[in-house]
Amino acid sequence: MSGRHVALAAPAAVALALAAYPAVASGYGVRATLQVFMWIVLAGSWNLISGLTGYVSFGHVAFFGAGAYAGAILMSKAGWPWLAAALVGGVAAVVLALVIGYPCLRLKGPYFAIAMLGLNEVLRALVSYFEGLTGGGNGLSLPTLDATIPIYYVMGLTAVTVIALTYLIITSRFGLRLMTIREDEVAAEAMGIDTARHKLYAFLLSAVGPGIAGALTARDQGYIEPISVFPLATTITMIVMVLFGGKGTVWGPVLGAVVLFVTQEVVWARYPYVHPLLFGAIIVAVVLLMPRGVLGILQIRYRLPRTI
């Protein structure tokens, strides 16, 4: 088999195995894999804006939280089915991204990064303020429903979609323009790329996945509160996953999500206080020592194609 066949067959085999997995797995196995899917969605989405355009989003969990609240309100107050509510969660996140992205992405420089840093706190404050709708600090309970296995499939499908989308973008002219912006925005403008619009499109695309994942997670857990859906730690984790795996690549976020989630479950769960500290150290180390991540290093050493 040629390399091209392996490249197609391997992911397909893994996808088939994962699709059959709930039939044989324990409850814990399904839940853990569901979590891995969620992290692939989050890390892959962060990669779309920050990995491709170089605009760092320090508050991407805001879209997760916005999707979670939009979905949970529809499910609990309006009685929507969870699948429809999850899609609306994605739409809500895109609308939020438009409101933030339009002013902040027109500018170069760190405006966007810091605006995203503040966004999370603001949403948390808003959610606490509109108590009637969101339950405020008391949180929001959803009607009981055991849908873990269907959610497993939908989350898995979302993860596959994010990976496929990343591949399509990276191999397209749109993706090349985004990467041109990352390498030299002035040059990109000089070549006639409408940088503001391209950045905004990438940003909107990067908000959909977290929005859907947020609503699905809300349904799966049956209860949300401001602290549980807007934790800064989630943003940090997705950034670490992408940086570790290799930003701006298709499989880097997947690699980072799987490796770091497993490590977290196996090792760091025993040292709950040390691991956020380690995350900070990993970010610093990756930026200084291997800015292209594990996959980036492999790409250079083994001359792998740019599109992995």
């Binding site: 920050s50 170089g54 760092v56 320090f58 409101v99 933030i100 339009y102 002013p103 902040c104 027109r106 500018l107 420089g109 760190p110 405006y111 990064a113 810091i114 605006a115 840093l117 503040g118 966004l119 706190e121 603001v122 404050a125 808003l126 606490s128 303020y129 990352r182 800064l232 940090i236 950034i239 940086l243 206080y273 040390v274 956020p276 500290l277 995350f279 900070g280 150290a281 990993i282 970010i283 610093v284 930026v287 200084l288 800015p291």
Partner: protein, 284 residues
């Protein structure tokens, strides 16, 4: 009522201005937004807390000590990590300082726990005519005003200060004039950390502190320099006072939770309408 709001706004605005001046200096000279600025302020607050509660020193006497300690921390950070990303793409410096800030916050949680801690000193308020002035806030205003004034004197009149401004105008030309730019970066980072530490020390006497307090300050300092125009040092003063006033006016009509939101809406609105800030960017 309005008078009270204006006074409170100016009192807290001076503190914003001083802390933001540090961020503006680093941005002006090194072209880096230091996301760890707030966590450095938090370390300054803890330095004052421990000196004043454990060693029983008057908290206001610890302000210079906190500044000196954080100057050293800033210098070490610059020399070991930050200098490596000065010329790198923005992504690197933002992520690096973000990593540093996470590490600092979690280190503080590990060492000091997440408990709220407060320095009990100078409680109560002075009543002047119809106004009640919180004593700690008035003293903080005096300190912030003096330190900011000294910082401007330093930038305007000393040789080192002029070298800092020259580097901020053009690094290449500064180099040609024989300025050791590496050293200027080091001093700037230390000075900025010291200004943050002074802010933290003064805040520790006003409100209870905890390891996660810093992030809001990174955000607010950034908002201040956006208001005044990024890289524009006098603009940071104007921006600080404005932010203080706006927050106080907002708290008249809204809950404290929502006045956080007002600051945010303000940021987005300014970026839409006048992205170069009120005074325009980069005049040093």
């Amino acid at each position: 009522m309005l008078g009270q709001v204006v006074i409170s706004g100016i009192l807290s605005g001076a503190l914003y201005a001083m802390v933001a001046l540090g961020l503006a200096l680093i941005f002006g000279v090194m072209r880096i937004i230091n996301v760890a600025h707030g966590p450095l302020l938090m370390l300054g607050a803890y330095t004052t807390y421990f000196l004043s509660t454990v060693l029983d020193v008057n908290p206001y006497l610890t302000v210079p000590v906190s500044m000196a300690v954080l100057f050293a921390v800033g210098v070490v950070l610059e020399r070991t990590l930050v200098f490596r990303v000065v010329d790198a793409p923005e992504l690197s410096s933002l992520l690096l300082t973000f990593g540093v800030s996470i590490a600092l916050v979690n280190l503080a949680q590990l060492l000091f726990t997440s408990d709220l801690r407060s320095v009990e000193y100078l409680t109560g308020a002075w009543v002047v005519g119809p106004f009640a002035l919180s004593k700690t806030r008035v003293v903080a205003f005096v300190f912030a005003g003096t330190l900011t004034g000294l910082a401007f004197l330093f930038l305007g009149w000393t040789k080192l200060g002029k070298a800092i401004r020259a580097t901020s105008q053009s690094r290449e030309v500064a180099m040609v004039c024989g300025i050791d730019v590496q050293r200027i970066h080091l001093v700037t980072f230390g000075l900025a950390s010291a200004l943050a530490a002074a802010g933290g020390a003064l805040i520790a006497v006003i409100v209870a502190i905890q390891p996660e307090m810093g992030q809001t300050w990174t955000f607010k300092s950034f908002l201040v320099i956006v208001l005044g125009g990024a890289g524009n040092y006098p603009g940071a003063l104007l921006g600080g006072i404005l932010l203080g006033l706006i927050e106080q006016v907002a708290s008249l009509f809204l809950t404290t939770q929502l006045s956080e939101v007002v600051a945010y809406v303000l940021l987005v609105a300014i970026l839409l309408v006048r992205p170069t800030g009120l005074l325009g960017g980069r005049q040093t």
